[in-house]
Symmetry: C3
Subunit: 325 residues, 3 copies
């Protein structure tokens, strides 16, 4: 593994999940692997889970970690090729990324979309410039379009839960439903895009449900089954993954705030006793009712915990296969 | 020791001070104790001494430290039970604290009062929610009502000074005077509340002096002697602890800015050659005159230094007695 | 070495560069030297290279590092002697620096000039107060007037390049030209001041070129040759160091934004196939044209990399010669 940007960098994801579970079992087994290696975490947007879990993961591997809020502790970064930099930006991303690459063995980058221009956002310019110029492995801490550490943690969690369930008479795949949910703000599509591309590679039956107009980029949803009726979609679900996103078609628009899409006990009653999943942070009683989030069906904390092992297994594989300097 | 929130969590404080002095003498003796343990320091308010001294303490114990300015690097946190989160808060404290508890073995939290609503502030909601939901030991980095690491450091300092003084003919307790002092801003009562509850358990004669109307919450001052005449109170003092606070009775109000309450050489001349104490940061020539702060009576830097050992002895005891995961 | 503030603290700079190159070759050879030692990095201004490279350097030496953005994470600091602190500043630099000195074995400080009052800026008040009150070694992370880690890294880089060039028939010193370049903002003189004082002690032919009115403080440029015609100055240069600065004479003024001073391929063609240097961040197509910065003559990343070893050799020497507590 060199970079970790999407499911395409993950190799055999079944194998990767198994390795992650080993990492979870013995988190300090590779404490020597990251010795004298530095992970730089570059944030252009706020973060809680990603910031903390990736630090934990790196420290478990014995790495030094340097955290930098480039937007707050540094200065404004220019990204346009050939720009005459006589405005507010003090440094070009070419230099910023190449310089950070001089100091770090692996770089993590968080860069959200602006949700104004679809083409610009979907070019994932900041992340790709880091890959192009940093000269060291780059891992995505959520880009404009994808959030691979989250999706890997989600898959680890589904695996744990599904393998620990009571034995059934029939061997079958779990049914996983990604459902859109209402939200007061304009949110990126990164989490649902990413979850979709991971689920399509995983050994699950995958269904997406959302109001019409919320279709995601087909590059990520491909052959996924889309059902516009949420109640219908939830039937017999084993896992319900709720998430809001803004429209991809009418880019960056909120085209529904329909409260009927909130996940409630009633909605969960349509499922096969499903587990409730969310990447967090979550708006209580908007995306999901307290009764569900505080109930035994919720596995959101297990997902959050698995963010450590999702990051750690990836860092481990990069450290093992790649001698960056 | 599980949590460290108030003097009530400290056990035998004489014993704790003795242990802290041993930690100060051999700061790296327990470098293995914190191995593979992570301390998360969560700041909702600015900090200098607490931030640095607690990091030092944890690193002396071999712990990994993750610092997070939740207010600046994260997002706004909802604390109300049952809230419909369609406003500006992106995450509920239930999830925030529980998630941080997935990544950290011990969590430190700083959360100041808003000084608008007494009942709300004195419920110490943020801190208590962390205790309720984090699932790991929580230590207070100054809450709305108390600042236990400061008070423990103060007690360590008083102990050091008192035990190192020239032998006197009569064995006696030191007289410790907590005096209100003027200040241009509205300040919390956490430091004086906390100092009071620690002094009342310590082997000292404790006196509080302040203008009328500045009475603290009796929960913390209990049987402490209150003298409204500062000059009278300072007589024969061995330690003068100056601090401003806003009114508890007329909650959050400044009811005096009387400059006569500033600690000057003249005021110190009423004492028994007392040492001057302050938790810092201090407003020079408002709370205390330069002549006192820069003079040999000032032990404020010794107090600051002891913040390391106050935090370290507590972390040590938590690590020793509690296996958090 | 106790403090590291200017070239005068560096001792024999030829020897220091040789030691830095050894540190670069074996960066982890002194991993035990910094054990149980803490480096505090105090930023009153933004930073990228300095923040990351100094952390790397310290971690290579086994030190613990604490980073504090005093301006953002702390509060406003008073610097005036005898101030009555009833305004916006919550802490005096006397206490702030002395307290940080209780927690750190070495302190790095970044404090830019305000560029309003020359005398005030050139007193380098913040840095000098830290030296006066911290009680531990202080290293400059760029002060109001000098940037010694940058200059040492620059000298290391010149050394590497000059010693690795193809053998010439005549043994000679390299010609190093510091050239002013246009910029939209009012910038400090710290980098050119510092580069000048280091070059004047180094074994090079040193020339400064700038529009009239941009003469630097003679304290730092001394006997340096100043040529007002840039084309003339660049003739036969082996190294071209571009940098903008605001006027020292008409203090803090921009007296030229003449685009003809930008470094282009044409300008470089006047030189002896010179290498292009800049401390970064750099304004592309304002200070230097893309064609130069992206071409093979540019050694700006090598300079950035050498910031690690510039900091590391200095920290090493301080740790070796000085037992701070």
């Amino acid at each position: 593994m060199k970079h970790f940007i999407s499911v395409n960098d993950a190799g055999d994801i079944t194998q990767l999940v198994l390795e992650a579970l080993m990492v979870k079992k013995y988190p300090f087994a590779d404490k020597e692997l990251g010795k004298n290696k530095t992970l730089g975490l570059i944030f252009l947007n706020p973060s809680l889970r990603t910031r903390l879990s990736t630090q934990c993961a790196a420290q478990n591997l014995g790495m030094d970690v340097i955290v930098m809020n480039l937007d707050k502790e540094g200065w404004s970064i220019e990204t346009k090729e050939g720009a005459v930099m006589d405005g507010s930006s003090a440094e070009h991303i070419k230099e910023a990324s190449a310089v950070i690459g001089q100091y770090c063995d692996i770089i993590g980058v968080r860069s959200f979309p602006k949700l104004l221009n679809r083409e610009e956002d979907y070019s994932d310019d900041v992340l790709n410039k880091f890959i192009q110029y940093a000269g060291v492995p780059v891992i995505s801490l959520e880009s404009a379009t994808l959030h691979p550490f989250q999706s890997l943690a989600d898959l680890i969690t589904i695996n744990e839960v599904w393998n620990n369930r009571k034995p059934e008479t029939v061997i079958r795949k779990p049914k996983v439903v990604l459902t859109w949910a209402p939200h007061p703000k304009i949110l990126p599509q990164a989490v649902p895009n990413s979850f979709s591309e991971w689920m399509l590679k995983a050994d699950v039956d995958f269904v997406i449900t959302h109001p019409e107009g919320y279709e995601l980029n087909e590059k990520f949803t491909k052959e996924a089954k889309i059902i516009y009726n949420q109640d219908e979609a939830l039937k017999n679900a084993d896992f319900v993954y709720a998430k809001n996103w803004s429209s991809y078609k009418e880019y960056g628009k909120i085209i529904s705030q329909d409260k009927n899409w909130m996940i409630t006990s009633k909605k969960m009653s349509f499922t096969n006793n499903a587990k409730f999943m969310h990447c967090l942070p979550v708006r209580r009683n908007v995306v999901v009712a307290d009764e569900v989030l505080d109930g035994s069906a919720s596995i959101v904390l297990q997902q959050a915990k698995n963010r450590i092992y999702s990051a750690q297994v990836v860092l481990k594989k990069i450290l093992e296969r790649y001698d960056p300097h």
